[in-house]
């Protein structure tokens, strides 16, 4: 398998300007800090973490929907951050984004047909007739009917809208799809439907996917590998099986213990984290997790833990991880 996406030391700081224009002082919100990972063709990477930990920002930075502060993103060997605006537009054909909120991600003034055909028109895919056929085919794939083509988004339910969004993303045959919490705005019954649809499509088109979510059970279902993020950094990245069976980072352990278990008699030794997630404007020194970690010692406050390998596919950033 070849590496399709290579992310290295990705950083995104959002500056907050305070004070008058005479005494400017800029505070940075460190949304994403030193995120690195590789993604093979046809693989699905799940990214999980609390809200505000930079999952979505990472996804958007990879597709350059927002400009990263520094770091490199290599897609199929091309360094995306070095491309001009026009070159970038060409590359976008191969990489698409599925949005979280199906109510905000569709233009209310365009019909479903116009929305789905737009990427093909922009990227000059095929002849006019082929595009129209492809739209119908896509509607069919995502479980909508041809008569929906001339309708407007406000006539659809949330789940249907999300499927329209998926059809739009797939319209120009992308290779990489970043899904930003695609099911968190949907009802539980629709969630399963949408996830199954995504998994089918992933197999059918051999898509490479980044699946961002805060729900570990959803991620478990769809991912080959899982990355756990805390305060803008990846703390653990692993094969999904390894991660769920042998979580190494204390934060991962806490997250996993929070998954509700269907069996009421199962032993409930939940790890409850103390305190809130620290502010990303002023993250803690050393290991960012040390303020809430039950194993924290002196070294955690001073030294930033390196990513260490547990095995070939499993890495963790913790001083106390048993390797």
């Amino acid at each position: 398998m070849s590496v399709l996406l290579e992310v290295k030391d990705l950083k995104k700081y959002f500056p907050i300007k305070k004070g008058s224009f005479l005494s400017k002082n800029v505070i940075n919100v460190k949304a994403v800090e030193d995120v690195s990972f590789n993604l093979n063709e046809g693989e699905t990477l799940g990214i999980v973490g609390e809200s505000g930990c930079g999952k979505s920002t990472t996804g958007r930075c990879i597709l350059r929907l927002i400009e990263p502060t520094s770091g490199t993103v290599k897609f199929d060997g091309k360094d995306l951050n070095k491309l001009s605006k026009n070159q970038m537009r060409e590359v976008r054909r191969d990489m698409q984004f599925i949005f979280q909120d199906p109510f905000a991600s569709l233009n209310p003034r365009l019909t479903v047909g116009e929305t789905i055909i737009e990427p093909m028109n922009n990227f000059n895919v095929g002849e006019k007739k082929e595009r129209e056929n492809r739209v119908k085919e896509l509607l069919n794939i995502v479980g909508l009917s041809p008569y929906h083509l001339t309708r407007y988004p406000h006539e659809f339910s949330g789940g249907q809208r999300q499927r329209i969004g998926i059809a739009r993303a797939l319209s120009a045959n992308p290779r990489l799809v970043v899904c930003d919490e695609p099911v968190s705005a949907l009802d539980v019954s629709i969630q399963a439907q949408t996830i199954n649809l995504l998994m089918d499509l992933q197999k059918q088109y051999n898509l490479t996917m980044i699946f961002i979510a805060h729900d570990l059970s959803v991620v478990k279902h769809i991912s080959d590998r899982v990355a756990v993020m805390y305060l803008g950094s990846i703390v653990e990245i692993s094969d999904y099986k390894d991660l769920y069976d042998k979580p190494t980072h204390p934060y991962t352990q806490a997250l996993l213990s929070a998954i509700p278990k269907p069996d009421p008699k199962a032993d409930k030794n939940r790890i409850i984290l103390k305190g809130d997630i620290p502010s990303p404007t002023n993250p803690p020194s050393g290991c960012k997790f040390h303020t809430r970690c039950m194993y924290a010692t002196e070294i955690c406050k001073t030294d930033v833990p390196e990513m260490r390998k547990v095995n070939d596919t499993h890495s963790v950033a913790c001083h106390h991880a048993k390797i």
């Binding site: 958007r60 597709l63 929907l65 537009r89 060409e90 976008r92 054909r93 990489m95 698409q96 984004f97 949005f99 979280q100 909120d101 905000a104 991600s105 569709l106 233009n107 209310p108 003034r109 365009l110 737009e118 990427p119 922009n122 990227f123 479980g143 009917s145 008569y147 929906h148 001339t150 309708r151 407007y152 406000h154 006539e155 339910s157 789940g159 249907q160 969004g165 739009r168 319209s171 120009a172």
Partner: protein
């Protein structure tokens, strides 16, 4: 899959656009329908004035100066013996032209400036909006006077002046709508599906800013007619003997005691017209308010 069944029942029902919805809501309000009625009557006279008017609006009979309203001359005659009723009808055409053309000018310039400021932001925003602030600092009629003085008095120049005076309103409204629409995820989606800036603005942003622009345009047609009439009254807009309401007022002002009808009716026409556009504009504002969606 049960959703499909559910939708099939729905398929024969109205497939209605957002605009149709808004129009239905507009129909419900009596005052805005009254405004629409006035505007439609005005447009009717603007188009059919030559067929409806009983007399020539320009050539008068001096022997019939200052005749009181009668069956022959509904609104009486003015100082040149011209039929005031016919002149008021012809004036509707000119007023509609003034309203539409000057607001058109204001729209084109205002939307362009507002879009650049709102979409690109930063230094462009700064320059455009400070320029708009400077324009706003002038009293409108003074600015219009200055522009007409530079261009020379004529009806076309008055339209241009009134258009330019109204640019800041549109620039500000467009900028603020662009700023809010731009934050929507569908704009981000447009970037990711490879739209150019031009496509994003014209396909994804502007159509979604249309409601406030439309409301402002309708309201501004009213004020534009008023401002142009003011310029004509001062002798800087329509030139005699053109049948323009403002210049009719100016012509007959001196004879207010002998022939009050020659001043009253043009003034009344201006008032009714502006009222019609204002009522329609207010109604549109309510009808297009997204919070009122049923």
């Amino acid at each position: 899959m049960e959703e499909k069944v559910e939708l099939k029942d729905e398929v024969n029902h109205e497939v209605q656009s957002l605009w149709l919805n808004a129009f239905k809501r507009l129909m419900k309000s009596k005052t805005s329908m009254f405004g629409l009625f006035i505007v439609l009557v005005l447009i009717f006279f603007a188009i059919f004035a030559p067929f409806v008017a009983p007399h020539d609006p320009i050539a008068g009979q001096l022997s019939l100066r200052h005749d009181a309203p009668s069956a022959e001359y509904l609104f009486g005659t003015d100082s040149q013996g011209r039929d005031v009723f016919s002149r008021v009808l012809y004036g509707a055409k000119i007023s509609i032209e003034i309203g539409v053309i000057s607001v058109g000018i204001a729209l084109v310039l205002g939307i362009t400036m507002g879009v650049f400021a709102g979409y690109y932001g930063g230094i462009i925003d700064m320059i455009v909006m400070r320029f708009v602030d400077i324009m706003l600092a002038f009293p409108t009629i003074l600015l219009a006077l200055a522009i007409v003085t530079i261009l020379g008095p004529s009806l076309v120049n008055a339209m241009i002046a009134v258009g330019i005076v109204n640019v800041p309103k549109f620039a500000r409204i467009v900028r603020s709508s662009v700023l809010s629409v731009k934050e929507n995820e569908y704009v981000e989606a447009a970037i990711s599906i490879g739209c150019t800036d031009f496509q994003i603005i014209t396909r994804h942003i502007l159509p979604n800013c249309l409601a406030p622009i439309l409301v402002q345009a309708t309201l501004t047609i009213g004020t534009a007619i008023l401002e142009a009439a003011g310029l004509s009254f001062l002798g800087l807009g329509a030139q005699p003997p053109m049948a323009e309401w403002g210049s009719m007022l100016a012509d007959s002002r001196g004879y207010m005691r002998q022939a009050p009808w020659s001043v009253m009716y043009p003034g009344f026409a201006i008032m009714i017209t502006v009222l019609g556009f204002n009522l329609l504009g207010d109604g549109l504002r309510d009808a297009l308010d997204p919070r009122l969606k049923e």
